[in-house]
Symmetry: C2
Subunit: 346 residues, 2 copies
């Protein structure tokens, strides 16, 4: 049988309470007694039954998710996944609360983090904005011993405990490779090719990193491909449509478009309306209703995706583990860069 606290108590010749104090590093145990107990624990190979402990404590993990109230499909999906987790709360001994903040607003995010700090929850997950004041706020959470996980967009060299999101440089490189290879046939062989990039804003780190990865692969491996100056669509479908339509008009030779942000509904409309003799190759991010339909129809050629459900479940698992001081299964928490062609749609 697996040893229990009783076995340890007996073996060390102390009471349950003392064993418990040692197990939970509570004060009030003489060093000698402590080591006696620790020896017994090691000798018996004791491992604590977390479920029993949580039952006894009546423990419930309180987590806060701070999400931007952005109205693009990806963020809406992320919200839904958190709500799904809330629905499962009772079975998972969690209590999860969502705080909505205005997008791209560091001050609002800092405010939210401060409020959370006052609440002292078991953990916080948030979509980071890369700004010094945000890093400072995260530092304060760390000092207070509250585990933090960044979601979707990370904070560089910060004190967050974990990042639940994709490697955006790798994503950009992947897009670059696909673009280069897919273009090779119809265009490159003859006369090189011109490629447009549509971003949301160069202010957010994930977009900058994707551009960086994309550009470096093109530069290294596909010197015949010319990248036009970045178009900024602010993740807004209407604006995206305008800037893309405009670009297609001005550059009749655009052979490919890499959309590294959101607002793809507009991009799709612009491409469809352009009615070009030779449709440009389009690579976009995030599988949503519109990108999925465009992929099936052949308007988009490939979609790079991050699984919001995985990110949310991972964030919760990691926060729980951090709250308990337990290790995580690294492979389970790695968020993949999913590549979808029309053939492997889920």
């Amino acid at each position: 049988m697996k040893p229990t606290v009783h076995d340890i108590a007996k073996s060390a010749g102390v009471s349950l309470a003392t064993v418990d104090r040692v197990l939970n590093d509570r004060p009030g145990v003489r060093a000698v007694t402590r080591s006696k107990v620790e020896e017994a624990i090691a000798a018996l190979g004791y491992v604590r039954d977390l479920a029993a402990a949580n039952l006894a404590k009546g423990r419930t993990y309180s987590f806060v998710f701070i999400l931007p109230e952005n109205d693009n499909s990806f963020m809406i999906g992320l919200h839904e996944e958190v709500r799904g987790a809330i629905a499962r709360s009772s079975a998972e001994r969690t209590h999860i609360r969502i705080i909505d903040v205005p997008p791209f607003d560091p001050d609002a995010l800092v405010d939210a983090l401060e409020k959370v700090l006052a609440e002292k929850p078991s953990g916080v997950a948030f979509v980071a904005i890369d700004a010094p004041e945000v890093r400072a706020a995260v530092g304060r959470l760390k000092e207070a011993g509250i585990p933090t996980v960044t979601l979707v967009s990370d904070l560089p060299d910060a004190s967050r405990d974990h990042y639940a999101g994709i490697d955006n440089i790798a994503a950009g490189r992947t897009a670059g490779s696909l673009m280069g290879r897919f273009l090779s046939g119809p265009f490159l062989a003859e006369r090189g090719a011109t490629v447009a990039v549509l971003a949301g804003s160069m202010l957010v780190r994930d977009h900058r990193e994707r551009l960086e990865g994309f550009s470096s692969v093109i530069g290294e491996s596909y010197p015949n491909v010319l990248i036009l100056p970045v178009l900024e669509g602010r993740d807004d479908p209407a604006l995206a449509e305008t800037v893309v339509a405009d670009a297609l008009r001005r550059h009749a030779d655009i052979a490919g478009i890499y959309s590294l942000g959101a607002g793809n509904r507009g991009l799709i409309r612009a491409v469809q309306k352009a009615g070009m003799s030779r449709r440009p190759l389009v690579i976009a991010h995030e599988l949503t209703a519109s990108t999925r339909a465009a992929l099936a129809e052949g308007v988009i050629d490939a979609v790079l995706n991050q699984d919001a459900g995985h990110e949310v479940r991972s964030a919760i698992r990691v926060l729980k583990a951090k709250a308990d001081g337990l290790p995580v299964i690294a492979g389970q928490e790695r968020i993949r860069i999913d590549i979808f062609l029309k053939d492997n749609l889920p």
Copy 2:
């Protein structure tokens, strides 16, 4: 506060024991009493605390994994993942046993399934072989109320409870699309292209399905591509090397190779040794040490992968859920067709 069995007992005016009998459908309760209790449960919105129940029962889930003792890296990796799960057993209240069987041997698999049936474990996971006697054995497990999960390779219209693996037709189609698009440039434009397919055995369903998906995409969308008769390497590196080397010798014009099974070490050696002026485009399955290295070096162009760790964890989650009659989170159990280029290696 969440209602407990005590609240139900009080509200229904019965004892804890009776509530428990109703909750677990045990006999010895008059219909009237039963419905009184059921009403209380509904009225209070009671949900059972599984952790507490398992603690009281001293329950531990006993699972058996039946794995082919194949010596390719993928299967070795799968074994390791199961061993990882075994290492976590105590924390997860599971007791997992591995049964090794000779590969591609339906009789051996049936024998193993029969032995398992006699043991009456809480659940079984196995790499299926598509044969009537296997389906029959699974039927017997189902009758005995033992949940079953197929791993990696499925059993068609069978009574298994769940399949933890990828959609192999979609995987084949994806490989076909990538092959077609990647080939377009250097080869197709001029004179069409010849492609070789290396499989393990046409006896296993996953290999047949991948071939089917691959062939149909090529047929539909890349009529210039000619697929040579399938090479069978029995997932064995040495044999794979021989058959591939032989094929490359006989068909100097091979422009692409789709390796839809295992034994890629041999394939890689054959391609490297062939020293062709123009290296064929290679698409393979399963990210292992050797395919990863080949991808990085440019010997392999793309790898389709199924995450063995995800499959094993998923199988365990599903078996637990089935054993408890609980629902699963569909999105969490979908095994993705991972596509790796050299740019998005994990």
